[in-house]
Subunit: 270 residues, 4 copies
């Protein structure tokens, strides 16, 4: 029980400088069965105060902001035993195109937290990213290759390629931190190619070449990301949950291709 | 792994006649770890064939359509051990306004099914509805009432009221059926008032009066629906899961008020 | 001044049979300066009655339905001098894939009408379609071709290709009719390739080949559609307005490529 | 012909400090009939450079940013005779609730510009705002008042009230400036009441009271805004175009009420 869609600009500290992120927050508490309604204005107050405070001292991440909101919610709603918050924001990172040109690229990052009264410092935290990139289809490429009368070595074969949207959402175990930038990088490495806002002709050709050298089904993207996650966070406990979803806006169809794996480090380690 | 966003018109049998529903279907199977990719065109073929067949013989419900899709998916993908499908459709029912005028009202209905190879006829089925109606706030009404210098008996007190969107999503246990129309009715009964597309002046006044006679927080809407469900499906087993969500587009705020309960018949019976 | 977002299922007569289309209607009248407000319930009544009537006798097209709504609006709002309505609907047509397999494809069709009191039978009518298909980029293809060390005749060259959404919106002059199916066909012919919901392997390869044989910028798509329109409707008067928009969801970028031409038959004939 | 949906964070100077706005930009040039395609990457480069420059020196407004983009587009596309750009951004202003509590409120602001080669410094500029607030219906209030057996003076009468979204979009004549904050204020003054993210109980009651003291049809909102605009910009020339739209998400219906006036200062002055 709470509020959804509260929009605020918040100051977040990045390695080199503070940036403004426009966040959208949902914030909830549970309600004991003997209470008829909750004081929703407290939820919006909590969000507002933390955002105001960020002007003086930027928050370290939206993940910590979300956790702060949860803790304050429990302080304000003295009757609640559980608080939960979700935050989403547009996010930008500088990338280099194949030819070395700088390009500012857009992503989405999100964070969830859940705090139970009496849990002390512990809390459930979850972090996520959404990345847009490109996939080229291995299946059509193979069918077309088989149909060619001439076989020229190293000549790239045509196929359909398209915009792909991939998300990671995973638990942050207590005592560990996850950097959203790392998750974004893992997704971009798992696609046929990252995409860029600015591409001059030679860059454009190179992105197309790389995508065709690296054709991927949506299920390949998911599999490769899970493998990177397992490598990168080798010391994470077994019960860490992770969900990866990849959706390709198929250029040859009006519908999308979709793969998802909702799993744990335990399963991945089998 | 599968397809999302496949759009088709399908013939569905209602008590009195067959109607056309425009469905949007997502259909998935799992992929054994030794297989690189799945044959997604089979998913779309399965959907297409069942939809084509509905022209000759209308399906009995989108819930059964979704189950049929799941079973066919397992037949076509001989390597898969699990299939899953989700269907959503716009849906219309005739309602009577307070003054007795007929008005055709729009809703959304959805169905999910999950079938495991070897399960025989059993399968997990889930059904849902989304209903738009109206809530009037009890809290502002009380504050205003307390501030009035004159107390006139039976005079309705002003408050903020707004569009509310409420969804039910629940398991259909094996051997039982749930009629979407019943769920829609339970939601409309739990709101401050249902809403209507056509309201002449006297009807309009009456809807406003009823809403003010029946002020509701989003958490009241959720609570009352759960209570109706427990009454209506008294013979359902304990492990049936149900999720009710109610969101009010608060007229006095730019954000929404939201309540959710994700529970089981066991918990509800405590 | 009026209502937006009224949803109804309506019976529309097609050459071979009546079909149900789910329409969304906006309906407006003007308001003389001496009147404070309009009776909006009349707008919804008008829409409801015409839709109810379609159950007994299907309307001939959503364009004529929209015109009927406009005329009824002027009858009901005796103080208004102008009425306007817009209708949009999901629409389906059967297509054949390159290998001859039948596939039901989804589109959007829309209609606008404007009627002035005293205009007699004349009215402004407008019709439109939205079609999803595929474009392959000629520019990246050329850059890559130029960079190849080996030149093999007739070997298709890789490029980026993507989902493209193209719309036509044009006046229907008095005394003439336009068939939405014809507009849809012109759009599909102007893209690098139409897209299909069901494609087995050989079909998939053939769609990819056709798209690469026929690379198109968004501005090519617009130009070719306008040229087809001018041919097809050679007898239309000079003042007929037409707007064509084509948007490609670039697979190599996070933004879209877009071309539009908003013109008249007079300009096109220059 | 150009690009749509380019997302960037940009530094904008406000009276007291520089703020970061996340803009979404569409940028186009025309294409001479003898050219097959345009160099779209130049459009994104132009946007990127102006945004980068804003880090060193914040732009004065998104309206001037949009104009800068248009001028740079004509420099880069030497073959084009016309450039056009549109920018939209989330925007925040501090407001005071009736009880004097500070609340940060969200809006949308947008700007369009069109520059013709050879126009020198002159250009067509357009600015706009989107504001969410509240309307209470005068019609239901009157019907209910007439039906009451007791008439108590000054006692507010119930009615339906709801979230309302209103936009202004208007030309900025050469030699004049328009401040988006002023347009936002005019919209808020024309609604039944502005809305606020944070409202404690007494504030909530006061917003409800003010809305019921000030019932408004969507057409009233449009009319009152146009009247404020004419007062505020009394020295603007006759040919300045302005469009005001107001849409109420009717709490008693599933559809919306809508009013629009697309006019000029000349017409308004009649």
């Amino acid at each position: 029980m709470g509020v959804t869609g509260v929009r605020k600009p918040v100051q977040v500290q990045r390695p080199d400088k503070a940036v403004t992120l426009n966040i959208v927050v949902d914030a909830f508490v549970d309600l004991p069965s003997n209470m008829k309604g909750s004081h929703l204005s407290r939820n919006v107050e909590v969000i507002g105060e933390i955002v105001d405070e960020s002007v003086r001292e930027p928050v370290s991440s939206i993940e910590n902001l979300t956790l702060l909101i949860c803790r304050s919610l429990l302080e304000r709603h003295e009757y609640a035993s559980l608080s939960e918050a979700r935050t989403i924001a547009d996010y930008f990172l500088e990338r280099k195109t194949p030819m070395g040109k700088k390009s500012l690229e857009g992503y989405k990052i999100f964070a969830c937290a859940k705090v139970r009264r009496g849990d002390g410092l512990t809390a459930e935290r979850r972090i996520g990213v959404e990345v847009v990139g490109m996939t080229a289809c291995p299946c059509a490429m193979e069918t077309i290759k088989d149909s060619l009368s001439v076989q020229v070595e190293n000549l790239p074969i045509i196929t359909h390629n398209q915009r792909n949207k991939t998300t990671i959402e995973m638990d942050v175990p207590n005592g560990f931190e996850i950097e959203a930038d790392d998750l974004i990088e893992m997704v971009e490495n798992a696609m046929s190619s990252p995409t860029y806002e600015i591409l001059k002709r030679e860059d454009e050709a190179e992105v197309v070449r790389r995508a065709h050298d690296n054709p991927k089904f949506v299920e390949d993207v998911v599999r490769d990301i899970l493998s990177s996650i397992l490598d990168k966070y080798a010391d994470f406990p077994d019960d860490v949950a992770v969900r990866v979803r990849s959706e390709s806006e198929e250029s040859i169809h009006k519908h999308n291709a979709f793969a998802e794996r909702d799993t744990t480090f335990r399963e991945l380690r089998l």
